[in-house]
Symmetry: C2
Subunit: 258 residues, 2 copies
């Protein structure tokens, strides 16, 4: 796990339903956040309904710390954000989930950031907000901005994951077969064009270069694997000469052995 020291701590204040704590733990572990604190939960802790709702997010649940007050829960932290959907008319900076995580990641090791989430119905009280350095609000649909507790935690946790995981945004898998080399593609195009010349498809000489280019572009865009190039060529041969059976490596080596 990377960035452990910068990972924000999720703090649920006076939560009403153990199921929600379980779902929060699940959303956190989905995104590799593991430190969860509860302030004055309105139920016994630990709770089997939290465990059931967490879908085995035990890595989070077994580390949960319970506090009597927000002040105690944030005592060891350096920066605290309080989540709220409502405008609170306080002179505190307001962070988006993205800005909150970027801030956490910008701090030196040892400084810890905590994020407070209020109870399901009422949200955080102004006296909770007094203990925070900043407000965290997601820029949601202003006509419909109320998230449930686990969804609110997920947005923050996802921003953490998104900004810390090194992963390609787009991957082109190749199912075992590597992408075709340029040489293979060149051979394929050469044989394909020869076939098309032979068939008369490219007989208008004026248009031939552009047609060849366009056909090449179609297959280039497909990012073919070696296997797919062989398959395509086999298809074309088969269409051209329907009688001939596809060549298989087995046959080829059998022939060599013969």
């Amino acid at each position: 796990m990377t960035h452990t020291t910068a990972a924000p701590i999720i703090i649920l204040v006076r939560s009403q339903l153990p199921e929600n704590v379980g779902m929060v733990a699940r959303a956190m572990l989905n995104c590799e956040l593991i430190e969860l604190r509860l302030v004055a939960p309105q139920f016994d802790w630990p709770h089997e309904r939290a465990e059931a709702a967490s879908c085995n997010a035990t890595a989070v649940l077994e580390r949960v710390k319970v506090f009597d007050s927000v002040a105690a829960a944030v005592a060891d932290l350096s920066f605290v954000l309080a989540t709220t959907a409502r405008e609170r008319h306080m002179v505190k900076p307001i962070y988006s989930p993205t800005a909150a995580i970027e801030y956490a990641l910008s701090r030196p090791p040892g400084e810890r950031v905590g994020i407070l989430f209020g109870p399901e119905k009422a949200g955080l009280l102004n006296e909770d907000l007094m203990l925070a350095d900043a407000i965290l609000t997601a820029p949601l649909n202003p006509q419909f901005s109320s998230l449930n507790l686990a969804q609110a935690v997920l947005l923050v946790a996802w921003e953490w994951r998104r900004l810390t995981v090194v992963s390609a945004d787009k991957i082109q898998p190749t199912k075992g077969s590597p992408l075709a080399t340029k040489e293979s593609l060149h051979n394929f195009y050469t044989r394909l064009v020869a076939m098309l010349d032979e068939s008369g498809f490219l007989r208008v000489q004026d248009k031939r270069p552009k047609m060849v280019r366009n056909i090449k572009n179609i297959f280039d865009r497909a990012q073919l694997t070696e296997q797919e190039v062989q398959t395509l060529f086999g298809m074309l041969r088969s269409i051209k000469d329907p009688g001939i059976k596809p060549r298989r490596k087995k046959h080829a080596s059998a022939r060599r052995r013969a």
Copy 2:
């Protein structure tokens, strides 16, 4: 609502629980996505349990379209992504939620993008995936990557919201009172320094310029409002001369009238 034509269409395939459709509708409307399609839902539609779970996301629910097959549900779309947590060993490009939304936003008006989400337990079948151009997978904790349906939709919907809403990442609200002008701040600093000179705090002449600069920096960082500058100055005056009552505008104008 901006970007309507580029907004992806969410397609739930063979969903098992009407509650989940309701929670999906809520997550969508939170992020101003409104087009939801159901393929062969495993319950009657419309359904009151979906309505209850949606927390009044009627703007989405009343537009829901129901289809018999995935093929019918994607017939009018130009690009289809299939969400899956598992590695499917298919030669299809794999998009992150971010890349999927960036792709949708890059398309010309009229081209529509759809995103398939499978049933709660099993996910999409390979025959569903055959109808998609690409796979969508969030780079979650590889040891704990299973999201519930509404959470999976929220990740995509949030990326849509995050990438389309023009909003500052960090806002400094001012509670009605505007930020102090440089002139107000200059006056405040001048009076503060005069007080400190008078009190002997700045008596070491070598250190005076640096001390003045440091003090100014403290208040500059706070991005004071006009009101706060007045409050601070009132505090200092009061500390300096405990007897004197704070000047109020009312008194001042009363004096003027007198």
